[in-house]
């Protein structure tokens, strides 16, 4: 139960960073923290207390492994998170080139 609350706490730190901060790079950092929190939550959900890694060695029964389905999902989520970060940083660099600042309150006031 404590570990679930810790995952939600990490997610809330990310949400706070996205909602309050004014620097574009800080907002991207908040999104990265939220993505880490989601991956952690997926893996924590699938943990079995005496489980081993889901690699079947010869001569071992594959019944006491941890959950492989959630880990396969988390693998795709990691790749999609990398894609999101790449695109966000590209947009941030273009915004800096056009407006000269990362501050989101100034982006509205300046003309391109």
């Amino acid at each position: 139960m404590i570990i679930y609350l810790a995952c939600i706490a990490l997610l809330l730190i990310g949400i706070y960073c996205v909602a309050v901060k004014k620097n574009l790079i800080k907002i991207i950092i908040g999104l990265v923290i939220m993505e880490y929190a989601v991956n952690l939550f997926l893996v924590v959900l699938g943990y079995r207390r005496c489980g081993v890694d889901p690699i079947v060695l010869p001569g071992m029964a594959a019944k006491v492994c941890v959950d492989p389905m959630l880990q396969a999902m988390a693998l795709s989520v990691i790749m999609i998170g990398l894609a999101t970060t790449l695109l966000l940083v590209a947009i941030a660099m273009r915004i800096y080139e056009r407006f000269g600042t990362f501050d989101i309150t100034k982006i509205r006031n300046l003309k391109g």
Partner: protein
């Protein structure tokens, strides 16, 4: 499992440092510390393949993030906080935490998952696919659409980054970007 809780505490402290740091470079390095702690937690929770993938993907994200901040290392700008917006966000976060607490009590206890679908994959994985790595068998055979979606998202991101960063900035026009020709 005491090391798991210690590492969770370290991750939370590193995340707070990343959010509240004044310098952008320190914030990026703290986010990478969160990622590295997460990699060790994946090892402790029995997910070594995720640990490898998380490590290398995070190194790539670090390279890209530092490229965005290093050449333009402007410290974070302040203007004074708007009290109302700050208070509303804090209230929303506290309300979300309360609702999450009541929702998390319905989950099965940590260490005893239900595994209704995954037990089928564990029993039949080896004989139906012939792959010893059950995560690869699940991700590419039983649940292939997730990998297809991930490849599609990555493709879109690569093409999108190429299109957004095409062309030249405000510098002399005799240095053209090679992709333009």
């Amino acid at each position: 499992m005491i090391e798991l809780y210690l590492l969770m505490g370290f991750i939370l402290m590193a995340a707070v440092v990343a959010v509240e740091s004044h310098d952008l470079l320190s914030a990026v390095v703290s986010v990478e510390a969160v990622g590295l702690g997460l990699c060790i937690i994946f090892l402790l929770l029995g997910a070594p393949e995720l640990a490898i993938t998380q490590l290398v993907v995070e190194i790539l994200a670090l390279i890209v993030l530092i490229r965005a901040t290093l050449a333009k290392s402007v410290p974070e700008t302040y203007r004074g906080r708007e009290r109302l917006a700050y208070g509303m966000v804090t209230c929303f976060i506290l309300a979300l935490a309360g609702v999450a607490y009541f929702a998390l009590r319905q989950l099965p206890a940590f260490g005893a998952p239900q595994l209704r679908v995954a037990q089928n994959y564990l029993d039949l994985g080896l004989q139906q696919t012939g792959a010893t790595n059950l995560i690869a068998a699940v991700a590419l055979n039983f649940r292939g659409f997730d990998s297809l979606g991930a490849v599609a998202a990555m493709f879109t991101a690569v093409i999108g980054a190429l299109v957004i960063l095409r062309g030249r900035g405000r510098k002399e026009t005799n240095e053209r970007d090679e992709l333009d020709s």
